[in-house]
Amino acid sequence: MANIIEKILSKASNREQVFPGEIVEAKIDCAMINEITGHLTIKYFHELEAKEVWDKDRIVMVLDHTIPAGSVEAAELHKIMREFAREQKIKSFYDVGRGGISHQVMIEKGHVKPGDVVVGADSHTCTYGAVGAFSTGIGSTEMAAVFITGRLWFKVPKVIEIKVNGNFRKFVTPKDLFLKVAKILGVSGANYRGLEFKGSTIRDMSIAGRMTICNMAIEVGAKAGIVEADEKTLEYLKGRTSDQFFIAKSDKDAEYERSLDLYVDDLPPLVSCPDAVDNVKPVAEVEGIELDQVFIGSCTNGRMEDLRLVADILKGKKVSDRTRLIIIPASQDVFLDALKEGLIETFLLSGANVANPTCGACYGGHLGVLASGEVCLSTTNRNFIGRMGSTKSKVYLASPATAAVSAIKGFITDPTSFKGD
């Protein structure tokens, strides 16, 4: 009668069974830092006069927020990370040009397996639930403790079950599904809780799509999002990891705090309007809003599946003179695959600005920062005031299909009504 998260946490804490609300100390299978949060972890590690990390093969370090360094300050953070990786002999260090956005790298390089407990010093660490792992974001100080002990306490969360059935219409995507969930639950509706996604739509969904919906679990306050591993997961993991793992599955009579039943057959493309992720409306309702910038990329929607969809729409078309389009693949591997498939050529011919993998634009760091008064439609995960630049700019969140069609038109456009002109 246990759900998937309870099963993973009971195994990691060496307990027969655990219950919501209980505090357990779990063994960590993998811990990830990026340069923005990781430099603090490294500082605290040294302040504690620790000599060695608990397990150099279970730590992954990724430079991703400012790639390549755009300032002396950013370069200093890279340097701190580089020196620590060298000092501690951490092999899984992804320097500039080697990895990409950490959450994409963690999955595509096989650092996460089903049944794992993974922590990352970044809130979107919840992405790894896509392969059946329990993963969550933590702060820099706790990460220093994890680096030393390999353990961390967790309160076993209550879990909300999200059953999704039906088939998406053309140009409706997992991103639209999550925006629907955000509309129902609200930005704090799953605070301290886990989200388990299940149902035929999820079984049919690629790992990329599962990453998108688990990635955004934090946007409703959740501790973790998770999808039970299945044949698709095993197929995806082939060649990425040779380690053994266990597949946790919720029992038929598992207990949930709440269940949502969603059918996607009639789901329209959705958009999250300024300035909150749960301010969700059908794209058709806000059609016509003029855009200064369209951004496609990030740990939410910068994978091959996303870029293929975008290229299908952009092929032979031009980005409207009214706007600018910035496309950033989520990782070096995605970038290379997109290049080989000719997607990058399609983007460049359409007038898009293609840049190297980085979190830059999503958090208002670089490579796509907004000026005052500007409006952006973005495939990222947050539209807080000032998130992508000026506090006087506005961000709408939508799928890659909505973004691509809107870039061609120069204003927010429903992709399901797009006739190709």
Partner: protein, 162 residues
């Protein structure tokens, strides 16, 4: 452990981009971070941050895992945050760096900007000294109180080693 401070009031869903905008995450000096605390929502905050007790609505600290958010508040002179509820990563981060955080449903309606507050972290009792009204926050569990009193997880680990 009792704290005295002046109310600075905010609403629901104060996110980490409001508390410390992303562009400042390259800064490593906490005092530099503190100069930009709450800049995303209230650029005048630093003029009133010394001995501030932030009183906020639901879901305070939602968004990113950046520990720079509670760090910037702590170094700005903010003594504590009392909110109707907190986002979980911010909540853990604040405790881990020794910044007191209390959950209280009623306080928001009982205070105005600038009111003087007294917090008793152990009992959870909060008194508005300006209006002479009291209310009760959820008392902190013993181990969290201990972490806050010692100044955070780092100090606890340092002490454990000695």
């Amino acid at each position: 452990m009792k704290l005295l401070g002046k109310v600075v009031k905010y609403g629901d869903d104060v996110n980490t981009d409001f508390i410390i905008p992303g562009k400042y995450l390259v800064l490593t000096d906490p005092r530099e971070l503190a100069k930009h605390a709450m800049e995303g929502i209230d650029p005048s905050f630093i003029e009133k941050s010394k001995d501030a007790i932030i009183v906020a609505g639901k879901n305070f600290g939602c968004g990113s895992s950046r520990e720079q958010a509670p760090i910037s508040l702590k170094y700005s002179g903010t003594k504590a945050i009392v909110a109707k509820s907190f986002a979980r990563i911010f909540y853990r981060n604040a405790i881990n760096i020794g910044l007191p955080v209390l959950e209280c449903e009623d306080l928001w309606d009982l205070v105005r900007d600038g009111d003087e507050l007294m917090l008793d972290l152990k009992s959870g009792k909060i008194t508005n000294l300006t209006s002479n009204v009291s209310t009760q926050a959820q008392p902190l569990p013993e181990f969290i109180l201990e972490l806050i009193e010692i100044g955070g997880l780092l100090n606890k680990l340092k002490k454990a080693k000695v």
